[in-house]
């Protein structure tokens, strides 16, 4: 019997096809991506069957965490600068151009206007610490939240109010928030929810 001679195979594979696929996928992800916005608190929104998608632009986001702390943010860097200028004027504070720049990069914040300067001088990773992110005061004595909203509306009247609250947030907190918004004649809100996995609502 002749010895079976194992032929040494060439292990080099043609990578061109794989490269094509990889870059095709890469292009797809690059074009479809909109980056996850960093939020100062982790909020688990309740699920609903609603299928309306939130618009991309002109969003005024109001975040409420499970303890009832309120965070606020608008989109558009120029609008943010304008907002801070006007808000500073209302509370007799002026912000330097460097602080303005810093503020325009923050998607949402949760500090009282009195601590805004200190907040802006912090490192980004320090800002989200619980002792620094105290939430915007929104009680009847010092309702800064109301001013933020009304000034943001004055900056750009097309802003839509989106409320994103945690599912464990107490109802009175939300009710009070909506009450505040009603005071300044803002009666339409988008409540942000996540998609309901399965709800057999078609059954009669």
């Amino acid at each position: 019997m002749p010895k079976v001679k194992i032929k040494r195979k060439n292990t080099a594979i043609d990578m061109t096809a794989m490269c094509d696929v990889a870059f095709l996928l890469l292009t797809f992800f690059m074009l479809t991506s909109n980056f996850t916005q960093k939020e100062p608190v982790n909020v688990i929104s309740p699920s609903s069957i609603s299928e309306i998608k939130i618009p991309d632009t002109n969003i005024m986001l109001i975040l409420v965490d499970s303890k009832g702390k309120v965070f606020f943010g608008i989109d558009g860097q120029e609008n943010r600068k304008e907002l801070l200028t006007r808000m500073g004027a209302a509370y007799n504070t002026t912000f330097s151009p460097a602080e303005m720049k810093e503020f325009s990069l923050i998607t949402s914040f949760g500090v009282s206007i009195n601590h805004m300067k200190a907040f802006l001088s912090m490192k980004p990773e320090e800002r989200d610490l619980p002792q620094n992110a105290t939430g915007i005061p929104c009680d009847s004595l010092d309702n800064q939240f109301k001013n933020w909203v009304s000034i943001a509306k004055a900056v750009n009247k097309n802003y839509r109010i989106a409320i994103k609250a945690d599912q464990t947030t107490a109802y009175p907190v939300i009710k009070k928030l909506m009450g505040t918004l009603q005071d300044i004649n803002e009666n339409r809100y988008n409540l942000i929810t996540s998609l309901e996995s399965s709800k057999d609502f078609e059954k009669l």
């Binding site: 061109t16 890469l26 996850t36 009710k175």
Partner: protein
């Protein structure tokens, strides 16, 4: 690994030797997949859902202008602790309290009651939807006619009231039920002493 294979032995011949044009693609594929991974992790493919809510404005409405709703049409839903819900129909008449029924958010809970209450509208909407699915109606026309149906004069009016212990999740859930049961008219209002009284009687 990543060198371009060249066969140049230093000997110059009269004719330029054909060089191999094969390039090792492996690093390029590596890079491609690395970037894909990055984009996949950094993107949010699905935009969050929203639910649109409109609240009445807080401007003073004189007693005369306020529409008194018929007790037979009114359904009051109370949101309780731990995602519990209670409902009652009508209001106190001749010193007889309405019956407060405790239920939950399962399909057999509050939904069953609302569907029974709103049966005519449900059936009409279902027929309309079947018509739309059979491509007899345009999307726009469907919305318009649905609006007409759910605004029916005999359809129930739901009043949603949250207690102090209720959570935001309950509110979203109850708004979801409104959408599922095609209830056109509902309002979120503050809880009244009367409701608290009913609740406390129930817990005794």
């Amino acid at each position: 690994m990543s060198e371009v294979t060249q066969n140049n032995n230093g000997k110059k011949k009269g004719r330029a030797k054909k060089m191999s044009t094969r390039v090792d693609f492996t690093p390029m594929v590596d890079l491609g997949f690395l970037l894909i991974t990055f984009f996949m992790l950094a993107t949010t493919l699905s935009k969050p859902q929203t639910m649109e809510v409109a609240l009445p404005s807080k401007e003073k409405v004189s007693e005369v202008d306020q529409t008194k709703i018929k007790a037979s049409r009114a359904v009051t839903i109370l949101l309780g602790k731990d995602n519990k819900v209670y409902y009652y129909e009508g209001t106190r008449e001749n010193d007889i309290d309405p019956i407060l029924v405790p239920t939950d958010f399962s399909p057999k809970g509050i939904r069953q009651f609302l569907i029974r209450k709103n049966y005519d509208v449900m059936v009409k909407v279902r027929e309309l939807k079947a018509e739309k699915d059979a491509k007899k109606l345009s999307e726009k026309e469907f919305e318009k006619r649905k609006e007409e149906i759910i605004g029916d004069k005999k359809a129930p009016i739901v009043i949603i009231k949250g207690t102090k212990e209720s959570s935001y999740k309950s509110l979203i859930d109850v708004l979801d039920e409104m959408a599922i049961c095609n209830i056109g008219r509902y309002a979120i209002i503050d809880i009244a002493p009367f409701d608290l009284e009913l609740l406390s009687k129930k817990s005794l």
